[in-house]
């Protein structure tokens, strides 16, 4: 390890930003609910055939996210393979952020299993230091949810994220201003948030070996090499926070996307197209639920080997009715579909969203047709409320059952253990323990 040299700042925590990151979040949730899974190698993702999350016991056996299930089973015959239960994971996620908001209102829900909390100024409210408050948050999540998070505490989001990765699982790493140089010397460039393989390769070409080397370069040098984004990361690493916490809940969607991986790959164009249409239906349901309308739509097809092709188009007016959008879907599909190729997933992305409440008058619109489509959407929503999602669907969905069902279509435990009064579509929003008492 190179000598870290002298510090460039001598302060403690001018800003105190914590990054908390769930350790193997999905499998930890499963293990928190079902004690028989504790200490065993567990993975989720049964329904996709690919591992979505691997418990630390499974990771110890070299099994990690993205590995195909057959390969994981070959490596570990005792592997517990579970179908993903995103509903329950989301309930835990929401609780994790609710707990964080008991400490500070400045909480960013970065993804389902990680977030940022700005503790700056809390020293005055709470006796004790920032590290104490961050540890308290970590402990509360452990006590109340029964799972661990790794926490990094430092002067910026980038530093906090780098610190939370330093010790895992259940790690705690606090890096104050005067110790930044020591910490950055011990990290790899590839660990830095925002540095992809290309950036790392470029930096190494210029003799930058560690995040510390990078942080010690002059700003002008960084700007010439990596531009504005590079300077932002450089400032963040030097302890000058540039990125604000996004504390707004993600209610204002910039885009809505719906995608699903097939249970097994398909070469059948009718089936692939039907899945694409089904995703469009789901996306429009979500769109209407948030009272939005979309002006643009993208169709994505994923090949067997993760290769993606996409095509997009603008609608002639923003709409919340699937019937207005679906005639566009066919040409988009034709543009990206290659016959004979094996597909494993489709996705529909709705873009240029706007509020559906405001009228959009247009002299050239066919009012009657539009009103009919709106009525059809309303009818579909009513049927969905009463009988469940996709009970009333577009004709292409007739191609959906054509695909053979596999054992991977297995449902998560919670969906097969409904309480009296719960339905396939609606369950009580409280996670259910599986403790044998």
């Amino acid at each position: 390890m190179s000598d870290a040299g002298s510090p460039w700042r001598l302060d403690g925590f001018p800003r105190a930003i914590a990054h908390f990151d769930g350790d193997a979040f999905f499998t930890s949730v499963e293990q928190a609910l079902d004690p028989s899974l504790r200490g065993r190698p567990v993975v989720t993702g049964k329904e996709r055939g690919i591992i979505a999350c691997a418990s630390y016991e499974a990771k110890a056996l070299g099994i990690r996210r993205g590995v195909p299930l057959w390969e994981a089973r070959r490596r570990c015959p005792d592997l517990v393979v579970l179908p993903s239960d995103y509903e329950t994971y989301s309930l835990f996620s929401k609780r994790m952020f609710d707990i964080a908001r008991r400490f500070t209102p400045m909480v960013e829900e970065h993804s389902i299993d990680e977030g940022f909390a700005d503790f700056t100024g809390l020293r005055r409210l709470r006796r004790g230091d920032y590290a104490g408050a961050a540890r308290e948050l970590q402990q509360a999540i452990r006590d109340e949810l029964g799972l661990t998070v790794s926490v990094g505490l430092s002067l910026s989001k980038t530093l906090a994220k780098l610190a939370s990765k330093f010790r895992k699982p259940a790690g705690f790493t606090a890096v104050e201003g005067r110790h930044l140089h020591l910490f950055l010397a011990r990290r790899e460039l590839a660990d830095v948030w925002g540095f992809g393989p290309n950036t790392v390769a470029l930096l190494q070409k210029f003799g930058v070996r560690s995040p510390l080397d990078f942080a010690r370069r002059p700003m002008e040098w960084v700007r010439r090499l990596l531009g504005k984004t590079g300077v932002e990361i450089w400032s963040e690493l030097r302890g000058d926070a540039v990125y604000p916490l996004e504390v707004e809940p993600k209610s204002a969607y910039l885009t809505i996307s719906k995608g699903q991986t097939f249970t097994s790959p398909s070469t059948d164009p009718d089936y692939v197209y039907a899945r694409l249409v089904r995703n469009a239906e789901s996306a429009f349901i979500k769109l209407r639920r948030h009272r939005l309308r979309a002006r643009a739509m993208v169709a994505v097809l994923c090949r067997h080997h993760y290769e993606r092709r996409a095509a997009g188009a603008r609608l002639n007016r923003a709409t919340s009715a699937i019937h207005e959008a679906v005639p566009l879907l066919r040409p988009l599909f034709e543009a990206v579909y290659e016959s004979g190729a094996s597909y494993r997933a489709t996705m529909v992305i709705l873009q240029e969203l706007e509020n559906d409440a405001e009228e959009q008058p247009d002299l050239f619109e066919d009012r009657l047709r539009i009103e009919r489509m709106r009525a059809a959407s309303r009818a579909m929503d009513v049927v969905r409320e009463l009988y469940g999602k996709h009970r009333l669907a577009l004709g292409t969905s007739l191609y959906l059952p054509r695909h053979p069902k596999t054992d991977r279509d297995e449902k998560p435990w919670r969906r097969t253990h409904l309480l009296g009064g719960e339905t396939e579509r609606r369950r009580i929003g409280i996670p259910m323990l599986r403790w044998p008492v």
Binding site: R95, P249, S251, L419, I430, L433, W435, V437
Partner: protein, 195 residues
């Protein structure tokens, strides 16, 4: 630069605060909650809340949340011109069944009971209990515990010799942990639904 929050977002935050604290935020708290930079903005917000029937201005100007804010009376319908209806005024201080049964929403879980060790305490096989994790049990609380690697539902009793787990069923003896005791959670309520 602080961004302005939408009215819906303000309501959402206020509701969350009320649910958590069972009260309205003070001026300073509201400033932090809403990212206001002046207390005047808080005054303006509360004025609008009162106008639209989300808070009630009592004698001496004391503010209290109404059911419209706490969300329990949505079925009563929209209030014309923002004046709360007499029914809504009366319903200002009601609890939802969730709030009645759950003290800490973040830490509370459902659990189906299969055994009969607490049957004399009215917990039958098949009943649902609401378990609060991370709570320290008080004497004679009903707890879910792991005793010497065995899960059990019992009264938590602290006596001269330490901790004893006592069933509410004459068929079973009390248990005294020998090697280990882990409290999984404290039972706060039992639910039995008749179909």
């Amino acid at each position: 630069m602080s961004r302005r929050l939408s009215w819906e977002e303000k309501l959402r935050r206020l509701r969350e605060f009320c649910r958590r604290e069972r009260r309205l935020p003070g001026y300073r708290e509201a400033m932090a909650l809403m990212q206001f930079s002046s207390s005047n903005a808080v005054f303006g917000m509360f004025a609008r809340l009162a106008r639209e029937g989300f808070v009630h201005k009592g004698p001496g100007g004391k503010l209290s949340p109404t059911g419209r804010l706490t969300g329990s009376v949505r079925l009563l319908g929209a209030v014309a011109a923002g004046f709360p209806s007499p029914a809504e005024e009366e319903l200002a201080d009601i609890l939802s069944l969730d709030e009645f049964l759950i003290r800490r929403p973040e830490a509370t879980f459902l659990l189906t009971v299969s055994g009969d060790s607490m049957i004399e305490a009215g917990i039958h096989p098949g009943d649902l209990v609401l378990v609060e994790r991370g709570a320290s049990p008080r004497n004679r609380d009903i707890v879910v515990a792991q005793v010497d690697d065995e899960w059990t539902l019992k009264y938590f009793v602290r006596d001269r010799d330490g901790v004893r787990l006592e069933p509410a069923n004459r068929k079973y003896p009390p248990i005294r942990p020998r090697r280990s005791l882990t409290i999984g959670g404290v039972v706060r309520a039992v639910i039995r639904k008749y179909s």
